[in-house]
């Protein structure tokens, strides 16, 4: 069973943090198809968070088709994100490593690299949206 945690300093909305944690667990194979997610009561009893937040996260996950709620039984994982994804990550990470080395050679320090990446990422997402 997955155990949730909450980072109150991250600036990410609590329900989004829960979604990300489930997705992450699915990707890493911590959660597999058929696994039960903790009930809303279990989650709020552990991390002291608003029950509506947990319900909202579960609804969102259900909408994405990752989990399914079965009344009276709980919420179960219906699809896994593990497998193929990891293989697709590898070449992308190699490209990114190459880009980072090039940036360092061009004389950029860590902060500048991060700022450059974030601003490029932001304008990319905005253009898509």
């Amino acid at each position: 069973m997955i155990e949730f945690h909450l980072d109150s300093r991250s600036g990410v909305a609590p329900y989004m943090q829960l979604i990300q944690q489930v997705r992450h667990a699915l990707r890493l194979g911590v959660l597999n198809e058929g696994d039960r997610l903790p009930t809303v009561k279990e989650v709020v009893g552990r991390i002291a968070i608003n029950p509506n937040t947990v319900s909202k996260a579960y609804r969102e996950l259900e909408y994405e088709g990752l989990v399914q709620a079965r009344p009276g039984l709980g919420t179960f994982v219906t699809r896994t994100l593990a497998g193929g994804v990891q293989e697709r990550h590898e070449p992308l990470k190699r490209d990114l490593d190459r880009w980072l080395a090039a940036a360092r050679e061009a004389g950029l320090d860590d902060e500048s690299i991060e700022a450059l990446f974030l601003s490029a990422f932001r304008s990319f997402s905005e253009a898509r949206a």
Binding site: S8, V40, V44, G45, A48, I49, P51, N52
Partner: protein, 292 residues
């Protein structure tokens, strides 16, 4: 569905001192509501009006569709500093609850006491702050209220006890769907547990709404200095500060900010609350009142 709490022009004065001024609210049921504001802002007064311990000087208040009176079976109240009878044991408090509340759920109360690790034979006067708060919450919750009011329940607790208390409270809410209104000046706690927020400053309601709405409608704008500020129609300035070069605003707007000269950033709940609490927000009102 009737609202958990509806107030219209609610005012409470103690002699010449105004504790709560012209408060208008409509809090829907089914929420965990955070009531936040600095000390002395009127949080306790609002909660005590809501549980019928106080009567309003003017205006109207309705809780779960009825005028609140103390002794109501549908309202649970945990008062500030979580008062308990020092000379009575934990078990005595449960018997008290059982004797005085027809709707008392004794199995629930005993289960909760066991869960929180309280010794039923312990005198309540010897409990730690956290244990006392758990006991007071148990007594208030076991009467199965439709609305649970909590006045600064965690203010005096250490972080661990605070977390324990909030866990218990959230479990109870998840189980029963009880509406909760909880005051605090610790925004970080409220951010976790609340999905509705009321900001009370200087005896006035500054803002009230669902947390998600508040988060999506508040923005920080930064840009070259401009005075006077006119961010456009439908945009309400919550807080503004200026240096000789730059203006920084916290605004509330449901529409997106399309002025390209502003750099628009999202705000956390704590920043939003602080913006409402800070002096410039209050100063603006004072100016407005002066003009009238």
């Amino acid at each position: 569905m009737t609202g958990a709490l509806i107030a219209e022009g609610l005012t409470k004065r103690y002699g010449r001192r105004t504790a709560l001024a012209d408060c208008t609210l409509a809090v829907p049921a089914g929420h965990v509501v955070g009531l936040v504001g600095p000390n002395g802002a009127g949080k306790s007064t609002l909660l005590q009006l809501a549980c019928g311990l106080l009567d309003p000087t003017a205006g109207r208040i309705e809780v779960l569709g009825a005028k609140p009176v103390s002794g109501s079976p549908t309202i649970g109240f945990v008062a500030q500093d979580t008062p308990v009878y020092g000379g009575m044991t934990v078990a005595d408090h449960l018997r008290l609850g059982a004797h005085l509340n027809p709707s008392w759920d004794h199995a629930f109360a005993e289960r909760r006491i066991a869960q929180t690790g309280l010794d039923p034979a312990q005198k309540a006067g010897r409990l730690s702050g956290g244990q006392r708060a758990q006991l007071a919450l148990t007594v208030a919750a076991a009467k199965r209220p439709g609305l649970l009011l909590l006045d600064e329940p965690v203010a005096a607790l250490d972080p661990l006890a605070r977390r324990g208390f909030l866990q218990g409270l959230m479990e109870f809410t998840a189980e029963n769907g009880t509406s909760v209104i909880m005051s605090s000046h610790l925004v970080a706690d409220l951010e976790r547990v609340c999905d509705y927020l009321i900001v009370l400053v200087g005896s006035k309601v500054r803002v009230a709404g669902e947390v998600d709405d508040l988060l999506s409608s508040h923005h920080r704008l930064a840009g070259p200095r401009r005075d006077p500020v006119d961010p456009g129609s439908g945009v309400h300035v919550v807080e503004e500060s200026h240096t000789d070069r730059q203006s920084t605003l916290v605004v509330r707007s449901t529409a997106p900010i399309d002025d390209p000269s502003w750099q628009v950033d999202r705000l956390g709940l704590e920043d939003i609350v602080l913006a409402y609490m800070s002096g410039s927000g209050a100063g603006r009102d004072r100016v407005l009142e002066g003009r009238r």
